[in-house]
Amino acid sequence: MRKALIVKEVKELLRDRYVLFNIIVMPVLMVFVLGGLTLAASQSGGGEEGDEGEAALVILDPGDRYASILAQTLGWKVFSSIEEALESSDIVVVIPEGFGDALESGRPAAIMVYARIDEPSLAEAFKPGDAIGFVEDVVRLVLASERGLDPAVVLNPVVVDNVYLYDGRVLSLADLGYMIGLPLLAGFVAFILGSVVAQVGAISIALERESRMVETILSMPVTRLEIALAKLASVTLIGFIAVASFEAGFVAYMYMALETAPPEAGGEALLGQIASGIVDYMSSRPGALGFLALTSVLAAVNMAILGLVVGVLFAGDIRGATTSTGLIVIIAAAPVFFEMFIPGGSAPAWLNALFHASPIYYPFMMMKAYTAGDYGTTAIYIGVEIIYLALASAIASRLMGSEAMLYGARRAPGSIIKPVMLDVWKKRGR
């Protein structure tokens, strides 16, 4: 591959204001937008899940006065062992020995909450949220009434230790945090990187056309494949600048989430736990970072190729490039967001099949399978993504070597429809 081609591409792209906006400003904005969406989705998801079923109460000290008040007030089934309670309900609140003593001495009392979840997702992580809220409210009201206080001044009367039961395993909130957080991060990185490289790829074609350089470059002593590869390499390289911007924004956002996290299991707290989970997991397993990089590269290269194809076919100018790729990116990202926020298996079969057409769906699913320890499924997703890559490369290099590169934009829908409409309008005028 010619160095001159790559140098030219990188200089030309990095000096374009649309590209600069896309790779530096956009990713940081996206972190805050996506972060807000995640928070909103997780909070709404928690409410819905919590309303679904009644929790069970396990009282380990039958003589505990406060535990008895809870049992009478909440009206949940009461058990003496956790195993029995889990047979009856998906959410089990355990009141340990010493609960009442802690409250009487003015200290926050510890409780354990077991939640059986169907899959590691934000909605499932919030499943015990309402049960915890009910326990806290009852304890707060009882303490306030006993001490003649306004309930609003009784802060954080209980400390919660969340335990999740998933696929025969016992997980802490931090464990669940990385299982949710890493696929989320992979999905976000794939989305940001994918949308940026797709746009930049299409813009690189549009810049050739706007500069009226298509014929010149196609007549030069370089193969079409070299032209395509140079574009791919430079676009992917530029995409990683966007990822750096995204990661800077992500770190800032997570730092803010950790700093502002209140102790109760609210949305910010969960984001904080996810952040802690990711940090702990990455520290203990450096391979996870490498896997994140692999999923990102695969997503980037696939979306760059998609951007080049869209550019060849539809991008007559930069505006055309951004408009056409914007639509493609929304379609490609939809499955990832669906999987992120809605529990799996809820989509109809035909929609699930459509999801698999998106090149940025796989990085998310790969990471989900990887963090869940399902390496077989991970390998299948990697294989499919590579096949996808090979097919997309073949299509892109064929397009680069065809007359579509010369005439594509002129045959784009807008360029075809306009003259036809004009012709019809003129005929009617006569």
Binding site: L207, S219, M220
Partner: protein, 243 residues
């Protein structure tokens, strides 16, 4: 020895016949001009000569080979200046010349020599350090022509090389082409609407109309054959006036 041979070449775009049997040959040291009205098939013919598009029928041979299947090494010996060619707007003039040299040259020494030639041919001086987005149309054209000639091609294809240029720029471009072909012995094929230009620089002229070469010869031969005082009169007699 002909460097370019075009025989009965045809090309159609959908229902539109762009070229319907064009034939001509060009030898080394010759400047062959294709002259004809808009839509006559000049640009399509030149694109087929450079291998950008495939003919539907007929034969094109450049430097002894099919331009569509030409190796990268052979393609180094051909240069093309499209009709509306620009330059990369975010690169400076000198960066553009370096890019073209980087693609054509086999070594960094050769690339440096090419860039030196390009600087001289363009005549843009200090303006080469500025981004091309600030250039006038004439400056862009001179830079693009300099890039096309600095690589010292054996076959240079120029589509309307002076279109839109003012008198002094057009004169400089014409002189560059003549000087290059005379000094290198290269073959040049160019298209033009400007009959004065054609008479001034072309060794032979092919008059094209509705996708066919309707007559061919040196400017002097054509003037004698059609009893025209200049090529403009010949052009009107052969191709026809405004309908």
């Amino acid at each position: 020895m002909y460097t370019v041979v075009v025989e009965e070449v045809r090309k159609r775009f959908g229902s539109v016949v762009a070229v319907s049997g064009v034939s001509f040959k060009v030898a080394g040291g010759e400047i062959y001009c294709i002259v004809g009205p808009n839509g006559a098939g000049k640009t399509t013919t030149l694109r087929m000569v450079t291998g950008l598009i495939a003919p539907d029928g007929g034969r094109v041979e450049v430097l002894g080979g099919d331009p569509l299947k030409m190796s990268v090494e052979k393609r180094r010996r051909i240069s093309y200046l499209p009709e509306d060619a620009g330059v990369y707007k975010n690169l400076s003039g000198i960066e553009y010349l370096e890019f073209v040299a980087g693609v054509y040259a086999r070594s960094s020494v050769e690339a440096r020599e090419m860039v030196e030639r390009g600087i001289e041919l363009s005549g843009l001086g200090d303006a080469l350090g500025r981004r091309a987005s600030s250039y006038s149309k004439g400056m862009k054209r001179r830079l693009a022509l300099a890039a096309a000639l600095m690589v010292e091609p054996e076959v240079v294809v120029l589509d309307e090389p002076t279109a839109g240029l003012d008198v002094s720029h057009a004169l400089a471009v014409r002189d560059s082409i003549i000087s290059y072909v005379r000094s290198s012995g290269a073959s040049a094929i160019l298209s033009s609407h400007n009959m004065l230009e054609v008479e001034y620089i072309c060794s032979r002229v092919g008059l094209i109309s509705r996708g066919r070469i309707v007559d061919e010869g040196s400017p002097e031969e054509l003037k004698a054959r059609y009893e025209g005082r200049n090529l403009e009169e010949v052009y009107v007699k052969v191709v026809g006036g405004v309908s």
